[in-house]
Amino acid sequence: MEFIASVIAIAVAYQALRGYNLSKERTLLYLNLSFVLIGAGLLVDGLSDLIVLLARGERGFLFVFNLGYTINFLAQLLAYGLLVFAYLYQTRSPSSIALAALPVMFIQRNTLTELILIFLLVYVATQTAMNYSANKNVNALLVFGAFASLSIAHLFFLLYILIPTFFPLAHIAQLFGFLLLLAMLLRVNQPA
């Protein structure tokens, strides 16, 4: 699942880079960097899972699983922080831009940082929801759906510590979010 999500994230990053090369609009560069981080994090996580799977879950390899998950988590923390920065940058509000740097101060994985990540995702989901309510566009709806789904996925990742059933649900919600982004990409690139 992580590999599929990673490929979709890199495809979104590539589209954002094409947009930046054409328009030199900085928000698209931030969007590109954000999805590069998300894609790289998911790829590392997927690879670490694969290594553990190939080692048939031997105890010695479990640190690889934890390392992969931690790298993915930190990459996502920075990525969503960058995305929040992109939204704040668009409003050109210097005081609020400083808020986006907040995740960097908590660069370690614990329940607090998990909550910060969910907060960042909810912020981005709210922005995309506002965008959809303003222009009632199907692509905007898909992006909103994607970030709402990713927010739910991370909430499930947090809850799975208490209830293990949430672990597969979190992965399904995460994949669903990235599939919505893929649908948006395909719609954007379809010939006129």
Partner: protein, 103 residues
């Protein structure tokens, strides 16, 4: 220095179009006019002064995205490169707007 007590003028925040955005607006007007637009049409459509319009049209011609046709009256049309640029721009604009970003 403005003496205290007097009402200060409100800060006007104007958002200027980037050069890129003006290029796109001009090309969009040409495309909208069935790829044959007279300068007056472009002037009103892209909301530009005459001097700035001439400057930007020259720049776009130098970039090879528009061409001047017509003998008596000047008419501007998009070149193949210009049409491809507009197709790419539309995709990028649609992508950015899906995230709520303006370009």
């Amino acid at each position: 220095m403005i003496p205290s007590g007097q009402p200060q003028p409100q800060k006007v925040t104007a958002k200027y179009r980037s050069q890129f955005r003006i290029y796109v607006d001009i090309m969009h007007v040409i495309q909208r006019e069935n790829n044959e637009a007279k300068p007056t049409r472009i002037l009103y459509g892209a909301n530009l002064s005459h001097d700035r319009l001439i400057k930007y049209l020259d720049e776009l011609k130098a970039l090879g995205v528009i061409q001047e046709t017509g003998t008596d009256d000047k008419v501007y049309s998009l070149t193949q490169k210009g049409i491809e640029f507009m197709n790419n721009f539309r995709k990028v604009e649609s992508f950015a707007s899906a995230f709520g970003f303006k370009i």
